[in-house]
Point group: C2
Chain length 312, copies 2
C-alpha cells in the first residue's frame, strides 16, 4: 500500500509544466514525474544544465509572462513553484514582489484559462504565512499575519486560487510547505539551514546561527514534499494543506543530529537574530493526513542520513 | 463623557488628507474633521461639487500616484478610503484590482515615508474579508477567505500596513467597516441597500431584492463610522478592528424597519441570489469596544429615522 502511494500520480496526468522547475523542489519533482512516465516541461528564468534529462525547456521571465502561452500548450497540470523574491527581501521592495508574483500569477491564470489547462498545484509557504503563531503545531485555519512581504504575496495568491476554483472551475491545490531539505542544488541564499550545515561541516567551515539556536522549524525531507506534490495532481476543487513533518526541531537539535550523522563536530558562531524570523513554528498536518493518503515518511534523522550518504 | 468622546480627535491632528474624500464616507468625514478644526485635503479622481466647504482639493489618479506627493506635504494623517473596484467586480478583472489598489497603496506608503507622514487610517471591508463566516458575530481573528477580488486586495493591503507598522514605524489603523448607511451621495452602484430602499420607497418604485431576503448584514450608521475614524487618529502602532453595529439584520428586517419609519409599503421584487454574496455576516465588535472608547450609538431604527428626516 505504502509503495503504491509513493508511486502514485493521477493516471490522466501525461504532461506537466513546472514553473520554476530549475529550483531545488522543481528538480526533484521533475525527476519523480519522469520516473512515473509524465512528460515534463520546465519553465525557468535561468538556463538548464541537466541536459541529459530530456525535459522540454522554456526559458522566460515569469513576471512578464514570456513564452508562457507556448509552454502551456497541451499541458495537464501546472506546478507553480516560482517566487521572484525571498522571505528576507525587505518590505520596502514589496512593489516588485506584488507586481511579479501576484500579478504574474493572475496573468498565468488568465493564460491557463485561454489554454484550457484547469489544474494547478501551488507551493505556498508554511513558514511565513502565519507569522508568529499563537499555538504550535499551527493549523491551516490559524490567522495569517505574515512578517514579510513574501508571506503577504503568498496569502494573496492563495486567495486568488480559491476564487478561481470556486468561481471559475479551476482545480487548485495550495501546499503550505515547511522547510524542505535534501540533496541537490538550490539557489544561492535560499539553501536552507540543513544543506548549509552539511556543506559547512563537510568543509570544516564555521557554522553561523542567527540568534541563540532556539529558533524552531519544521523540516521536511524533499521526497516527502515531492510525494505531496504528486498526490495533489489527483485532487479536485480547492484544497489547501500544511505539508510538513508535524514536528518542531530547534537549530541546535538539527546541529546535534547532523553531528551525530556525520560523526563530526560543528564550529558554531552565533550571530544576532533577524527581525523577520519567526521564533517557533511547526505545522499541524492533521488535515492532510486525515483527508488524503499522504503522510511524512522520513524522520529528521533518516533524512539527514540519506542526505549525508548522497553527499559522500 | 459621551459628548467629549464624540467630539474627540487627537489634539495634534491639524491637517488630514482624505484619499477618496469625494465618496460617501469621505464627505461625512471631511465635514466632521472641519467641525473639529482640522484642515482637510481631499484627493479624488472626480471633480468636487462641494465648493463652499473650503477643502484643499487634489484631483488625480491614485493608481498612477498623480499629485500624491504634493497632496501629502505637511499632512499629519492620511485617511485611505480609496478602492478602484467593487465587491461585485468579477474575479477575472483581478489584475487591475491588484495593480491599482495594492500597488497603489504600496506607492502611497513609499511617498508617505518620503514626506515624513507616519499615520494612516485604512477602511478595509468587514463584509468581504472573511468570506462566508463559520460563526457570527465574526471576530477579527476569524480566517480570511474572501469570495471576491475586492476582499483579497483588502487583505493584502492590511498585511502590508501591518508590515510597515512593525518594521517601519508607521502608525496604521485598519477599520473593517460594516455596511455604512446614512444621508448623502454615494457612487452609482455602491449605494448600499438602505439608501436604495429609501430612494425607491420615496419614488414609489419597486424594490429589487437578490435572493429571498434572508441575507443578513451588519448596518452601521455613518456617524458611528466617522466617530471610529476620528478616534483612530490617536492610536499608535498597528491596530485592526471590526467596526460595525455588532447586530445582524436580514434584508426583510430592514424593509420592515424602513416601512415603519416612512409609514409606506415597499413593493418588493425578488431577483436570483448572487454568487459573490455572503449569506449571513455581522461583526463581533468586542475588541474595539473593550480596547477603545468607541462604540456604536445609533440603532438601525434610529439611523433610519435620521435618514428619513434628512431626506424629507
Amino acid at each position: 500500500m505504502a509503495d503504491q502511494i509513493r508511486e502514485g500520480i493521477a493516471a490522466n496526468t501525461r504532461s506537466a509544466l513546472l514553473l520554476g522547475g530549475n529550483g531545488f523542489l522543481g528538480r526533484h519533482l521533475a525527476r519523480a514525474l519522469t520516473q512515473r512516465g509524465v512528460s515534463v516541461r520546465i519553465y525557468d528564468r535561468g538556463s538548464h544544465d541537466d541536459a541529459e534529462a530530456g525535459y522540454a525547456y522554456f526559458r522566460g521571465d515569469f513576471a512578464a509572462g514570456e513564452r508562457l502561452a507556448e509552454a502551456l500548450e497541451g499541458v495537464d497540470i501546472v506546478y507553480h513553484l516560482i517566487s521572484t523574491t525571498l522571505p528576507s527581501t525587505p518590505h520596502t521592495h514589496a512593489l516588485f514582489d506584488v507586481e511579479s508574483n501576484v500579478c504574474g500569477t493572475l496573468r498565468l491564470l488568465d493564460q491557463m484559462r485561454a489554454a484550457g489547462v484547469n489544474r494547478i498545484v501551488f507551493t505556498s509557504s508554511g513558514g511565513t504565512v502565519y507569522g508568529n503563531p499563537r499555538t504550535v503545531p499551527v493549523p491551516e485555519d490559524h490567522q495569517l499575519q505574515p512578517l514579510c512581504s513574501y508571506g503577504v504575496t503568498k496569502v494573496a495568491i492563495e486567495g486568488y486560487l480559491r476564487l478561481h476554483a470556486s468561481l471559475g472551475g479551476l482545480n487548485a491545490a495550495v501546499l503550505r510547505v515547511a522547510n524542505p531539505y535534501g540533496p541537490g542544488k538550490a539557489r544561492i541564499g535560499v539553501q536552507g539551514f540543513i544543506p548549509t550545515l552539511f556543506a559547512k561541516i563537510a568543509a570544516e567551515a564555521p557554522v553561523e546561527i542567527w540568534g541563540n539556536g532556539s529558533v524552531v522549524r519544521d523540516y521536511l525531507y524533499v521526497e516527502d514534499a515531492v510525494d505531496a506534490m504528486l498526490e495533489a495532481a489527483s485532487w479536485t476543487g480547492f484544497r489547501l494543506y500544511n505539508v510538513g513533518s508535524g514536528v518542531g526541531h530547534s537549530l541546535l537539535d538539527v546541529v546535534r543530529t547532523v553531528e551525530r550523522v556525520t560523526e563530526r563536530a560543528a564550529n558554531i558562531i552565533y550571530e544576532p537574530g533577524r527581525s523577520f524570523d519567526v521564533q517557533e513554528i511547526y505545522l499541524d498536518i492533521g488535515r492532510i493526513t486525515s483527508e488524503t493518503a499522504w503522510r511524512p515518511r522520513v524522520s529528521l534523522d533518516a533524512g539527514c542520513r540519506r542526505f549525508w550518504a548522497a553527499m559522500k
